[in-house]
C-alpha cells in the first residue's frame, strides 16, 4: 500500500527531506512498524528514528500512538516534541 510520510523541524533537517510517498511492504500496518521500516534504510534514518529518540507521530493530522493502525492513502508525520507557544 502507498502512504504519504512527512518530517518536520529537526527531523526534517537530519533526514534531508520534508517527506515522500512510499509503497510499503505487506506487514507494515502500524505507525511503529512504519518507523521501524524507515529505520531499516540505515545511516541518518537509523539514527534519527532510533527507539531512544523522542519522536512524536501523527496519522492524518491527529497525534498518534505507536500501535495505531495505518492504511493506504494515510498521511503519517514524524516530528520532535513540539515547542510552540
Amino acid at each position: 500500500m502507498k502512504v504519504k510520510v512527512l518530517f518536520f523541524a529537526a527531523l526534517r533537517e537530519r533526514l534531508g527531506t520534508a517527506g515522500e510517498e512510499i509503497e510499503l511492504p505487506a506487514g507494515v500496518g502500524t505507525v511503529a512498524a512504519l518507523r521501524s521500516h524507515l529505520r531499516g534504510r540505515g545511516g541518518a534514518w537509523e539514527l534519527a528514528l532510533a527507539e531512544s529518540k523522542l519522536v512524536r507521530m501523527a496519522v492524518n493530522q491527529d497525534m498518534a500512538q505507536p500501535a495505531d493502525a495505518i492504511k493506504a492513502g494515510d498521511e503519517i508525520a514524524f516530528f520532535p516534541p513540539v515547542t510552540g507557544g
Partner: protein, 137 residues
C-alpha cells in the same frame, strides 16, 4: 470560535473587544506570549496545526462554560519582544474564562505542532511543559 496560524502580527485589543460584544459575556481572559531575549524561526505543520488548536478549544468547551474563543499563533521569523501567541476566552464568569485560557495554553504547548529554532539550534521540549499539561488530566 476563531483559529488563525499566520505570519502577521495581531492586535490583542481588537481581538478582546471582538469577544466582548455578546451581552451574555461577563468575563474575557487573555494571554499573550512574547519572544524573550533571542530571535527565532517558528515552523509548523500546516493543516494539523489548525486542527490541533480546534481540538484543544473543543476540549476546553467540555470542561468549562466557554461562550467564545480566539487563538492566534504566528509562524516564520520573530524577534525579541514580538508577540507569538494570543488566547482569548469569553465566558459569563471569570472562573471559567481564566481556567479555560490557561488550559488552552498548556495544551497548545504540548499538542500543537510548532517548533522553535534559534540561532543556536532547535529548541528542546521542556519537561515542565508536559507537567503543566498533565495537571489538567
Amino acid at each position: 470560535m476563531k483559529v488563525s496560524v499566520q505570519r502577521e502580527d495581531f492586535d490583542a485589543g481588537a481581538e478582546i473587544r471582538a469577544l466582548s460584544r455578546d451581552p451574555k459575556v461577563g468575563a474575557v481572559a487573555s494571554f499573550v506570549g512574547v519572544v524573550r531575549e533571542v530571535g527565532m524561526t517558528l515552523e509548523h505543520y500546516p493543516g494539523m496545526t489548525e486542527k490541533a488548536l480546534e481540538k484543544i478549544i473543543a476540549e476546553a468547551g467540555t470542561r468549562w462554560k466557554v461562550l467564545d474563543c480566539t487563538v492566534i499563533h504566528r509562524h516564520g521569523t520573530l524577534r525579541p519582544t514580538d508577540q507569538i501567541v494570543l488566547v482569548v476566552v469569553a465566558s459569563a464568569h471569570r472562573g471559567d474564562a481564566f481556567a479555560a485560557c490557561e488550559f488552552i495554553m498548556d495544551y497548545l504547548k504540548t499538542q500543537a505542532p510548532f517548533w522553535k529554532k534559534e540561532a543556536a539550534g532547535w529548541v528542546e521540549a521542556r519537561a515542565a511543559d508536559d507537567q503543566a499539561a498533565a495537571r489538567w488530566k
